[in-house]
């Protein structure tokens, strides 16, 4: 294909059907650069932000970039990441869920209570399953009230924030604190893959990724559609390989990859697939972008909404179990504190729009990484929660500012 300018102008008379052959890597890079200048920043600001965070904290305290702290960071960010993935579904709809903190608390407490080894305990999987099902059921309840009764999600989940906090207190009763003695549950956040297993899983993941990319490429070529250059596919696989190898290598210097990392990877893959590759995911974006258009296209908007609230509360429940595992106990404060705000902030810092229709599961992971790094770094410096909240608040503000500035730029370039 001849060198074509970046497609910023849409008024040009090149037919949609006349894009022959494949792009070269140079053309791809030029298109990316043009998009960047037009305000399509993607994950770039957040990656730059993470590098800055790492440099600043490392220069203040040389404990920050150590293998031990790296493993701590994975464990610390796990619960927020999980809950933030659920929040992404809600923000994509243009809704909000303020109840995720205490819903995670309810799930953590249910699992802990069912698994107390007092002779009446249930099998481990049943205990965990019950907590997750309870989470999903809570989400369905929220969704039904929001769609069928028509109460705004802000109000319903604000009531949930209070109500589920109350349920946590009622369930704990006068026990005060429930120590978790179930080894499986504790193992999530406190046991580690053997170094060899970690490497094998990385290799498997890379093979899977390369296979998926190649199959997609072949299908496009077969249908005569332009496909991405081979070199770019290779770069993608190598890039993931390098990042993955660094993660595994560094973690193996210390205790290794925690099991909870596998839970995060699994959730990431499943929900990314659901959002990007399934009809349901497409409908989530459509409802968030233009609910009336979705309705006229015959999409059952209510069902999509209810499903998203169910997914969100389910992920909150999973996050609650992870948190309980990390703390090895639940108490009357389960699901409280900064969990709710950190989870929503993570999704937003990662680039998910509060106005619906824009965002990815990736946002939850990147945003949670930023928040957990700041929390962790300031903790190493011995600074108080007060400082942590102020700094995290400023980062949130910066992220949203960058987003709206780039959006304005995209509008001017006709790309929004």
């Amino acid at each position: 294909m001849s060198t074509q300018p970046a497609p910023i102008e849409t008024s040009d008379a090149t037919p949609a059907t006349a894009v022959p052959g494949d792009e070269t890597i140079g053309e791809y890079a030029r298109r990316w650069w043009a998009g960047l200048r037009a305000g399509e920043l993607g994950s770039l600001p957040i990656v730059v932000g993470l590098v800055i965070i790492a440099i600043v904290f490392q220069s203040q305290n040389n404990q920050f970039l150590t293998a031990g702290n790296f493993v701590n960071l994975i464990v610390q960010m796990a619960a927020i990441t999980t809950i933030a993935m659920g929040i992404v579904f809600i923000l994509l709809l243009g809704e909000i869920d303020l109840s995720v903190g205490y819903v995670s608390g309810v799930a953590g407490v249910i699992a802990a209570l069912l698994l107390i080894p007092d002779g009446n305990q249930v099998p481990t999987l049943v205990g965990i399953g019950a907590a997750l099902v309870a989470g999903a059921a809570i989400g369905v309840l929220h969704g039904l009230i929001i769609t069928k009764v028509g109460v705004p999600s802000f109000v319903v989940t604000l009531a949930g924030l209070l109500g589920w906090n109350g349920v946590v207190l009622l369930l704990i009763g006068n026990r005060g604190t429930v120590i978790i003695q179930n080894n499986t549950v504790i193992g999530f956040a406190n046991d580690f893959l053997s170094p060899a297993t970690a490497w094998i899983m990385l290799a498997a993941a890379l093979a899977l990724y390369a296979g998926v990319l190649l199959l997609a490429r072949r299908a496009r070529a077969k249908a005569g559609l332009p496909a991405q250059p081979d070199l770019l596919l290779a770069l993608r696989v190598v890039g993931l390989g390098v990042v993955g190898a660094i993660v595994v290598y560094v973690a193996n210097q210390d205790r290794g990859i925690p099991y909870v990392f596998l839970v995060l990877m699994g959730a990431y893959i499943v929900w990314t697939y659901v959002l990007n590759r399934t009809r349901f995911g497409r409908h989530v974006y459509a409802v968030g972008g233009n609910a009336e258009a979705a309705r006229r296209a015959g999409i059952s908007v209510d069902q999509v909404r209810i499903a998203c609230f169910a997914i969100c509360s389910f992920m909150a429940a999973l996050g609650g179990i992870i948190l309980a595992s990390r703390l090895r106990s639940v108490d009357t404060n389960a699901g409280g504190g900064s969990i709710l705000l950190y989870s929503i902030a993570a999704a937003v810092i990662g680039g998910t729009s509060l106005f619906g229709g824009r965002g990815h599961i990736k946002s939850a992971v990147l945003g949670a990484l930023v928040i957990a790094s700041i929390d962790n770094g300031l903790g190493l410096l011995g600074l108080s929660s007060g400082t942590k909240f102020v700094v995290t608040g400023l980062v949130l503000l910066a992220a949203v500012t960058i987003d709206s500035l780039s959006r304005r730029r995209q509008e001017r370039a006709g790309r929004a």
């Binding site: 102008e9 459509a286 972008g289 015959g298």
Partner: protein, 259 residues
């Protein structure tokens, strides 16, 4: 042109609270016919279309498709009959790309409930090509970045790619410039030539006279006149729009009714 109507409405009424948006409207369109639907603002054109599309359910009256009474309870029912609507506000999702919009609600899937992006992209391109839509550079750009005419083309292409028999366009040229209006009108005419029944809602009588075969005039929710385009002129149609004879004085303040 086949004279027996493929779609026919008999005595359709629809009220929104105290507002009688439609009163006993008769309407029909045949295969290969371009039927213009005209009337002043608030005459009930969009409401009539939404009743056909199943967005609103009519209070009384019946809809016949190929002579058979049908009940249309939602967009899916209409689509199943082969009735597609391009709405005045287009109803495109700005955050989705051209292909995603064209297949919205009817996505193709392969195994594992996986979206068949490749096939959808191919079919979208084909459809745009058969409609001679040549100005859209990439079918993978979001529709937010498209011009008014391009958005209109996408909305029309979305409507005709389903083997549709009846295509209804609500003011497709309202927001367009000269050249883009031209494109859309050509598109409308081509649809009629391809044997589809086309309903064209428009305020622009010049456009109406250029592409339509017949004209139905709505006034205050009532069908006040029907013409063969060849046998009438703009003056006659304007008169019907502004002062056509009403069969019933609507239950509105008398001042609003000009008889």
């Amino acid at each position: 042109m086949n004279d027996s109507p493929i779609l026919e409405l008999r005595g359709v009424s629809k009220a929104f609270g105290a507002v009688q948006a439609l009163y006993e409207v008769d309407f029909h369109v045949a295969a290969g016919e371009v039927m213009a639907l005209v009337g002043d603002n608030g005459a009930g054109k969009s409401t009539l279309i939404k009743c056909i599309a199943g967005i609103y359910s009519s209070d009384s009256g019946e809809i016949l498709y190929n002579g058979e009474p049908v009940s249309i309870h939602g967009p899916k029912d209409a689509a199943k009959l082969g009735i597609e609507v391009v709405y005045q506000d287009l109803a495109l999702a700005d955050n989705l790309d051209v292909v995603q919009n064209m297949f919205l609600g009817r996505e193709e899937t392969t195994s594992l409930r996986r979206l068949d992006e490749v096939d959808m992209e191919r079919r979208a391109k084909e459809t745009l090509q058969t409609l001679s839509v040549t100005t859209i550079r990439s079918v993978r750009q979001t529709v937010a970045g498209l011009s008014g005419g391009q958005r209109q083309s996408v909305a029309v292409a979305k409507a005709v790619m389903w083997n549709s028999k009846v295509v209804i366009l609500d003011e497709p040229t309202a927001a367009l410039g000269v050249a883009q209006t031209r494109q859309v009108l050509d598109l409308v005419r081509r649809l009629g030539e391809q044997g589809l029944a086309v309903v064209l809602v428009s305020h622009n009588l010049h456009d109406v006279f250029e592409v339509s075969d017949s004209v139905t005039v709505l006034r205050l929710g009532q069908n006040v006149a029907e013409f063969k385009t060849k046998e009438t002129n703009q003056t006659e149609v304007v008169e019907a729009i502004t002062a056509g004879k009403l069969s019933k004085i609507p239950g509105q303040p008398a001042a609003e009714v000009v008889v």
